[in-house]
Each structure stands twice: as structure tokens, then as C-alpha cells.
């Protein structure tokens, strides 16, 4: 029997309507706006000023603090300004504005297509390359990859999990790279395997992507035949269920180990990386190519042209949309990411980030929330919650501000997957209130534990 995570989950319609569209390269726009806050943790500090000439792949932002990442210029051109610009939520963030000129790559970057399969012996070299090329997790959280690959010395990983679940409806960018660049992904996995010193790598892919499973298996077989570095890498077909791509859920599905409340995957000996991150690791280490572009799915039933595009970081969303024919009249909401966990876009002039995986358009009818009615205590939210929580209860507690009870009922375990709100027949905005309460409870827990340390 195919594996999946043990508690809860929902089955939204797949709607992978852009699955058949091969990845196209989007022409670079006239101006790019590169955000300094593209990763979890401290925003990068811009090290260029207006008037500077930059080359493609040149560092323009340096990390501040341990959890932070380098930011590179995705184009060649002249810096026009460094200053606040609104991100997709309309919140002012420091951006570097660059007027684009024809591409001229910074030195030391291999821009050829040849596959480099030889794995460097020195893990430190690999980590340094990952760090200096600004690789961050592309599964959604944009956590700096080098930090994740270097767990504290008292914790040891024994399995690396590559997340190819792509359990959200509509999204197809991971699917396309698994079909088009499977070998690069596997080389990336082998690189991370070397860093972590693990013997086992599992690529988890949901059963609704048979072609991707096939291609990845082929790639592993071909590479394993050439070198022992690729031993122990396997593909695992998973049952289709949302949120399979959640870190904790994927570990549970593949290894049957459950990460403790407030714990990290490394606590159970697992490290999870997205397949897109693995591709970025390959580029960073084998080609010394920084993370300056990524695959973005532009989709939605109401959108005239489904596509998967290779987009330079910092490209304004409006440029991508205009390139594909403009925003359709019937679209009501634009979402960055999937329909379950993605962020609604408030500002279409915002620029793409490293972690932007999709722009999804939904119509009023698909997305407008229905008026809230009485809770009928059906328990569908609790049934759907992959963390085994009771959203109906948490919602009530949150609305009354009962922090102690919220903590007892494990609101801090919520992964914000949206299953509760998705399945609520009374249209109660469960996750809205729970998310807020979760933030406050985590703040309380941190403030309580901080002085002791």
C-alpha cells in the first residue's frame, strides 16, 4: 500500500492544468527590483548604490546574522536606486532597482548545459558554495539551505527527504523540473547527501505524477550506474493527500517518525529539502551559479495562457502577466503560491522573489468566502487537521483570548495548512483566528523560555 501521513488531510481537486506546459524562459524585463528580504531571517544588507554597474550573478546583498542569505543580481545593468518598495503584500521592503542591459555573467559562473555528476569530496566546499550562491529553501519557507544542512553537532541526520509531493492544487513548477531536469535534481540530492553524511535519500512524489516518478527513477538508475555516490537514493510513490508536502507530514509519511511539538525535523534524524532547492543546490555547487531565477507557474482557469516560466528574480509580476496577455476580467484574486497556503497578492507591481513558485488567478466565484454561519459541531475540521488539533475549539478560545487554554490545546502545533477552513461547512474563518492566536502563544512560550537559557 502506498504511504501517506497518519492524521487528517483533505483531497482538494487537483487542477494541475498547466502540467503539460514545458518550462519557457521569460525574456528579462527592462527593470528588475530585487528584494533584500527573500529569505527567512534577517534581511540582507544592500552593498551596491545607485549608479553602480552590476553583472548577472554578482552579489548585491550580504547576509545579516546567522539565519540570512546572500542576494545576487539576476541581471546585468545599472543600479538605479536602493530604497523602499512595496512587496506583494503592500509592505515596504528594501529593493535594489536595476536597469537591465544585455546579459554579462560574473566571473567563475559556468553557464553551459553540461551535466556535472562528479561529487566534490569536501562537504565544507559544498556548503560554502550553497551559502555564497544564496540558496534558500524553495518549498515555501525560504529558509537558508546552508543553515538547514548544518544541524547542531549534537543532532545527526540519517535520512534526507526530497519533497516532490507538490500537494497543492494548480502548482506544477516542481513537476516540470522533475520531468525536465531530473538528473540535475538527483546530483543536487547527492551533494546534500554528502554534506549530511546520510546513506539514504528518499524522493517523495505523489501518485498523481506518474511521469515525474518515471523520469526521476530513470535518472537515479542512470547516475547510480556511473558512480557509487548515488547509491541509496530512491523514489517513493505516495498516496495523494493534502498537505503531504508539509515537512512534518512528509517525514511521517516516509519514515513513520513524528516530529514532536515545537520540534524540528532534525530531532527525528530527517532533513527535508524541496526538489527545486535540490536543483538550486546543483547549480550553486556544480556550476557556481547563484540562485537568480526560478520556475514560476502562471495558471488559473480564468487565465488565458497556462504556463511554466523560468523567471529572473526581481521581475515585476505585472510584467509576467502582461507578457502572457494581461489580467483577465473575470479574475478576482491573484495568489502567490498555491490556493491552500499561498499568499494573496495585494500589489501586482511587486517583484518576484527566489521563493515565488506560482502566480494563480482565481475568480470571484472560486474564492470569495461565504458568510459565516453557526458551528454545527460536525467535527470536519478536527477530522481534516493533519496535526490532530481541534480547530473549532481553538477558534472559540482565540476569539476569547484564552491564551493558557490555547497553549494546552496545542495551537502552537498548527502548520497553517488550511484544511480546517477548507472543510468547514459553516464557513467559519477558523484559520484566520487560529493563526493569530498561534503567533501570540508562540511569542508567550518564547518569552517564557528565553530568560532561562
Amino acid at each position: 500500500m502506498k504511504k501517506t501521513f497518519s492524521i487528517g488531510g483533505v483531497h482538494p481537486d487537483d487542477k494541475k492544468i498547466s502540467a503539460g506546459c514545458a518550462i519557457e524562459v521569460l525574456p528579462t524585463p527592462k527593470t528588475v527590483y530585487i528584494s533584500m528580504a527573500q529569505h527567512l531571517g534577517g534581511p540582507a544588507k544592500a552593498i551596491v548604490a545607485a549608479g553602480d554597474k552590476v553583472k548577472t550573478g554578482q552579489v548585491i546583498g550580504e547576509p545579516t546574522g546567522f539565519i540570512s542569505a546572500y542576494v545576487h543580481s539576476s541581471v546585468t545593468g545599472t543600479v538605479k536606486s536602493v530604497g523602499l518598495r512595496k512587496d506583494l503584500a503592500g509592505i515596504p521592503v528594501v529593493h535594489v532597482e536595476i536597469a537591465v542591459e544585455p546579459d554579462e555573467w560574473a566571473e567563475g559562473i559556468d553557464t553551459s548545459d553540461t551535466l556535472v555528476t562528479e561529487i566534490p569530496q569536501d562537504p565544507k566546499f559544498i556548503v560554502d558554495r550553497i551559502k555564497s550562491n544564496g540558496v534558500v529553501g524553495l518549498g515555501g519557507a525560504t529558509f537558508p539551505t546552508n543553515v538547514k544542512l548544518c544541524p547542531p553537532p549534537d543532532k545527526k541526520a540519517d535520512i534526507l527527504i526530497l519533497n516532490g509531493a507538490e500537494c497543492e492544487p494548480y502548482l506544477t513548477s516542481d513537476y516540470r523540473i522533475m520531468i525536465e531536469k531530473p538528473r540535475q535534481i538527483i546530483v543536487g540530492a547527492a551533494l546534500m547527501k554528502r554534506v549530511l553524511g546520510v546513506n539514504r535519500v528518499v524522493v517523495g512524489i505523489e501518485e498523481n505524477k506518474p511521469e515525474a516518478i518515471e523520469k526521476m527513477k530513470e535518472a537515479i538508475a542512470a547516475l547510480a550506474a556511473g558512480s557509487s555516490d548515488y547509491a541509496g537514493i530512491e523514489v517513493m510513490t505516495l498516496k495523494k493527500k493534502y498537505p503531504q508536502g508539509g515537512e512534518k507530514q512528509l517525514i511521517d509519511a516516509i519514515t513513520r517518525r513524528q516530529v514532536k511539538s515545537m520540534g524540528l525535523p532534525i530531532d527525528v534524524g530527517a532533513v527535508v529539502q524541496n526538489v527545486a532547492t535540490s536543483l538550486a543546490v546543483y547549480d550553486a555547487v556544480q556550476k557556481n551559479r547563484p540562485l537568480i531565477d526560478n520556475t514560476v507557474t502562471v495558471t488559473g482557469e480564468c487565465f488565458p495562457k497556462q504556463s511554466n516560466l523560468l523567471v529572473r528574480v526581481g521581475t515585476p509580476l505585472s510584467y509576467i502577466i502582461d507578457f502572457l496577455g494581461g489580467v483577465p476580467e473575470s479574475a478576482a484574486k491573484a495568489i502567490s503560491g498555491g490556493p491552500m497556503m499561498g499568499k494573496a497578492i495585494a500589489n501586482l507591481d511587486a517583484a518576484t522573489l527566489k521563493g515565488t513558485s506560482s502566480v494563480l488567478f482565481l475568480t470571484e466565484e472560486q474564492t470569495r468566502r461565504k458568510p459565516e454561519t453557526n458551528c454545527i459541531r460536525c467535527g470536519k475540521c478536527a477530522e481534516a487537521c493533519p496535526m490532530g488539533l481541534e480547530p473549532f475549539l481553538l477558534n472559540k478560545l482565540a476569539r476569547n483570548g484564552m491564551m493558557d487554554e490555547l497553549e494546552q490545546n496545542a495551537v502552537q502545533d498548527c502548520i497553517e495548512c488550511g484544511c480546517c477552513l477548507y472543510s468547514c461547512p459553516a464557513n467559519i474563518p477558523l484559520l484566520d483566528t487560529i493563526r493569530l492566536a498561534k503567533g501570540e502563544v508562540i511569542r508567550i512560550i518564547r518569552s517564557r523560555t528565553a530568560p532561562k537559557k
Partner: protein, 328 residues
């Protein structure tokens, strides 16, 4: 598109709504409704219509004039209550009995608590129990109705459970009672020889149950645990003394056990949320039902059992939580 819609995730919703769930329940009730109409004829139509009309009308009037809140008729919960109440009444009951039942069900059991979702007790059963206690004669007399098919007009008197209870009280053994009356399991399964509109056909209820399961409206645990408990409980007593205690199949097929366990005990609002809680709830209902049937004054105990267990639901919910992820 002029303004971009912004909301927190998730941005899509399963198409389930309170209304769609309630409509599914109505559809699942249709087989029982059809059987009762065919078998009891116009009197069943009158009782069904009056019950549904009074339930919806009352809910409308209360939300409109007393609570002054938006009308909640659109969720169809009042219709469900009306149908279930009607199926719990003898079809020969006059229309005003249905009206009083509706007033108790909607007015007392549901709206005083704040409407759908807030009530502690199942409205339809509260209505039925109120009627059973207030009008025992009307509520336990069957027959005289002219059906569209079959010879229902020949049937008068009590339900099989009532006949058995009375016989046992008069000192007869089960063999004598069964010899005097012609109960067959096939009859009970397809069209029973007496009983309230919803009790007469076990098969119709089972069809509804399968529909509800297939549509994922309910989970099977509550229903199955009630049926299993009733079967096991009666099997033990029956094996000990087959002359005094009726057999498991008889107990499963008669009275409101099937109707109650499929449609009334599984009411979302008044049943536990977790599967574990549902099983405890179901076992409790099964035991109380059989205790009343074997040792109580009433021949039938399903309604009382459900009401009693309804009151324990908050406790069950508190202590039967599902296992949380990553917590021992």
C-alpha cells in the same frame, strides 16, 4: 477586475456547506419517506407535510421576530428535523400532534439554545419524547391507515415490541407470543407490520445509511457501535433465557433502533466529534436502549437513550480527543 481580493489562506473551499450536508440527509431520508407514504397513504402525507411545514414556519418566525437575526431556513436543518419528527410519529396521529411536536422540537429544543449548532438535545427526539409522554395513547396506537399498496388497513394495535412487552407482562413466554402473532424478519426488513412511519422498513433506513456513508456526510462509528451493542447485549440475555428475552435480530429490526442510530444519534450537533467518542456514545445508547426494552416500562427505549447520551456529549468531547501529531 478592478480591486484585487485579499484574504488569508486558504483561498479555496470544499463545496461542502451546512446546506449541502442537510440536503444529503434529506435525500437519505427519502427511501423511508417513500415507504411510509406508500404504506400508510394520505395520513403519512398529512403528518409529514404538517411536521415539515410547522418546523420551518416556526424557525422562520422565531429568527424573524424573536431573535431578529438573519433567517436560517436556508440551511435546511428545520426540514430535516421536520422529516425525522414525522417519521417518528404514528401516521394516524392528527396534524396538531405534529404541530405540538414541532413547537417542542424547534421552539424548545433548538431555538432556545440559540439555533442550529447550539442545542444540547436532538430537536426531533425531544419533540417525540414530549409527545410520547404527553399523548401516550395517540403515540402508541397504529393502524387504520389506508395505504397506497399493501393491506395496512388490516393492521391495528401495537408495534411488535409493544406486543412482546405486553405479552411478557401478562406472563406469556416468547414462544406463545410469537405463535400468536406472525412476525417474520423479512417483513421487518422490507415493510414492518406496525410502527411509526420511519420504523416500518429497515431496508429503507439502511439504504439511507449507505448513501450518507458514500457521501461522507457521517462516519459509521456511532451507528455501528449502537447496532453492535444492541446485538451483543440482547444476544447475551437471549442465550441465557430465550423464553423471556427477544433475540438480537428482532431487537435490531424493530422499533427505532435503525432509524435512531442512522439519523438521530448521528446528528452532528448532539453527537461527539471524535470517532472514539462516537463509539462510547454509541455503546451508551445501545445499553440504555436495551435496558429500557428489557427492564423498563416502555417497550421501546431508543429515543430516551439518545436523549440521555446527548447530555453526556460535552463530557465525551472533553475526554475523547483524537491523538495529536507528535505527542505521546
Amino acid at each position: 477586475m478592478n480591486k484585487l481580493l485579499v484574504s488569508p489562506s486558504p483561498h479555496i473551499h470544499s463545496k461542502t456547506s451546512t446546506r449541502s450536508l442537510m440536503l444529503d440527509v434529506v435525500i437519505a431520508l427519502l427511501p423511508s419517506v417513500i415507504v411510509s407514504v406508500l404504506y400508510y397513504g394520505w395520513s403519512a402525507v398529512v403528518i409529514l407535510a404538517s411536521s415539515v411545514i410547522f418546523c420551518t414556519l416556526l424557525e422562520y418566525l422565531i429568527t424573524r421576530y424573536l431573535l431578529r437575526k438573519p433567517c436560517t431556513l436556508g440551511d435546511f436543518s428545520a426540514v430535516v428535523t421536520g422529516i425525522i419528527l414525522a417519521l417518528n410519529l404514528p401516521p394516524t396521529a392528527p396534524w396538531w400532534v405534529a404541530m405540538i411536536g414541532s413547537i417542542v422540537a424547534i421552539g424548545v429544543a433548538k431555538m432556545t439554545f440559540g439555533g442550529l449548532g447550539q442545542n444540547v438535545f436532538n430537536p426531533a427526539i425531544t419533540g417525540r419524547v414530549f409527545l410520547l409522554i404527553s399523548f401516550p395513547a395517540i403515540m402508541t396506537t397504529w393502524g387504520g391507515a389506508k395505504g397506497f399498496i399493501g393491506g395496512a388497513d388490516a393492521v391495528t394495535g401495537a408495534t411488535p415490541l409493544g406486543i412482546v412487552k405486553e405479552g411478557l407482562m401478562q406472563g406469556q413466554t416468547l414462544d406463545q407470543i410469537f405463535a400468536a402473532h406472525d412476525f417474520s424478519y423479512a417483513q421487518m426488513l422490507f415493510v414492518n407490520i406496525g410502527g411509526s412511519a420511519g420504523e416500518i422498513s429497515a431496508l429503507a433506513v439502511i439504504i439511507g445509511f449507505i448513501y450518507l456513508l458514500a457521501r461522507k456526510v457521517i462516519r459509521p462509528y456511532i451507528t455501528l457501535s449502537i447496532l453492535a451493542t444492541v446485538a451483543i447485549f440482547s444476544a447475551i440475555f437471549w442465550l441465557v433465557d430465550p423464553t423471556q428475552y427477544t433475540d438480537p435480530l428482532f431487537n435490531l429490526l424493530t422499533g427505532g433502533v435503525l432509524l435512531g442510530s442512522v439519523f438521530m444519534a448521528t446528528d452532528y450537533v448532539t453527537s461527539p466529534m471524535s470517532d472514539k467518542g462516537g463509539i462510547i456514545f454509541g455503546v451508551g445508547i445501545g445499553i440504555i436502549t436495551m435496558l429500557i426494552r428489557y427492564f423498563g416500562a416502555y417497550p421501546e427505549g431508543m429515543s430516551f437513550a439518545i436523549l440521555i447520551m446527548n447530555s453526556t456529549v460535552p463530557l465525551i468531547n472533553k475526554f475523547c480527543k483524537q491523538k495529536k501529531f507528535g505527542r505521546a
